[in-house]
Assembly symmetry: C2
Homo-oligomer: 212 residues x 2
Amino acid sequence: MPQQDRAYATREAILRAAAEEFDRLGYERTSLTAVLARAGLTKGAFYFHFASKEAVARALVERQSELWAQVREAWHARGVDPLSALHGMFAESAERMAADVVLRAGVRLNADREFGYPGVPSTHLTWEKMIASYVAEAGERGDLRSGVDPDAVARTLCGAALGARLISSATTACADFPARIREVLGYVLPCVASSGWKLSGSQKAVDGPDDS
Amino acid sequence: MPQQDRAYATREAILRAAAEEFDRLGYERTSLTAVLARAGLTKGAFYFHFASKEAVARALVERQSELWAQVREAWHARGVDPLSALHGMFAESAERMAADVVLRAGVRLNADREFGYPGVPSTHLTWEKMIASYVAEAGERGDLRSGVDPDAVARTLCGAALGARLISSATTACADFPARIREVLGYVLPCVASSGWKLSGSQKAVDGPDDS
DNA sequence: CTCGAAACATACCCACCGGTCTCTTTAGCG
DNA sequence: CGCTAAAGAGACCGGTGGGTATGTTTCGAG
């Protein structure tokens, strides 16, 4: 609760303007001047609310990471099988990103750090492990084909999602990101899951091949 | 044919040093000073051979694009089925990239332009179309499952390859890129190809699931 | 050997960007 | 009202990076 309401508004305005620029250009190529021009503010306002350019970026990454835990919890609570949960989490994440610039910026910033700079431990490994554990769990339930390596599947899905986001971000500002994600899932999961597995959780699986 | 042999050598040295920096840091974060320090040269030498920083980047992108046409021709000449040709092209490309810094830098620069800057037509669309045509051709031969959309497969593979390269580049300097690409192909192609299809062309398909 | 162009070195310029400093305005509160 | 701190404006600074201008070496031709 800020001492003044106006302060909260401008802080949000800065975050939003920064998100829009970061989303388009990434961290390096985004200048504070551009952000402030977009927000209709000046450096005085900025450095009152944030300690540095990096601090805004961190704030955006923060918001983003909070949200994912939330999404994950929600799908965990639904009690569907692991593969369906994975599908749901991917799809919901993609849809949220398509709808929210602030979220997109946070994701991009988070990724840019990892892949731009060399040798960063990276949150991305966390994702890979999380996905791998879901796939492994599916294996214990007998939902996998024989010979499927959970780690390899996790690497594939992670990479595919990353690439899809980049392309979608550059071409349609992530508008077609959900569709691309569903395509990826549609062409990977059937190859991973055993023939008996079916997507559950009131989801629509689009663009995958028919069983034949 | 340069007037002096030494000139050719230094030009190559600049290209190599620039490639190493571009490969690690990307275009924006690479400074000429760092490149020249690495090459043991000065700005005088640089601006004699290249008009600008961007010109070196273009030269690297140029080399890269020449090579792909070559790879594509080679696999076309082998006369294998379309899906096997796709597999071969992907695998060979990945292996060349793992081995050659100059190539990697060109690829990264080419991609950075497309995805960093908004609204660039992009060579990447060319790739998608090319892949889609191969997949469509496979469909005409009856090598596809029913319900498979060649365009969607192309998007998926393109994105997956892009993501795999980024992750591999950041973590192992693309050393495990060939393995990651084979994983991707192993978990996508079986889901796309009809059950009768088999990989040909003396290639090893690793990490894919068993048929069951 | 000489001379001139090619090939490279070095000092310099300038625009920009993140960050700081000082000053003004606004809002809460007695 | 009037006082004070929050909130914001706007000028300014240091550093860096791409690019240039000018000087110096190397090489090949005649």
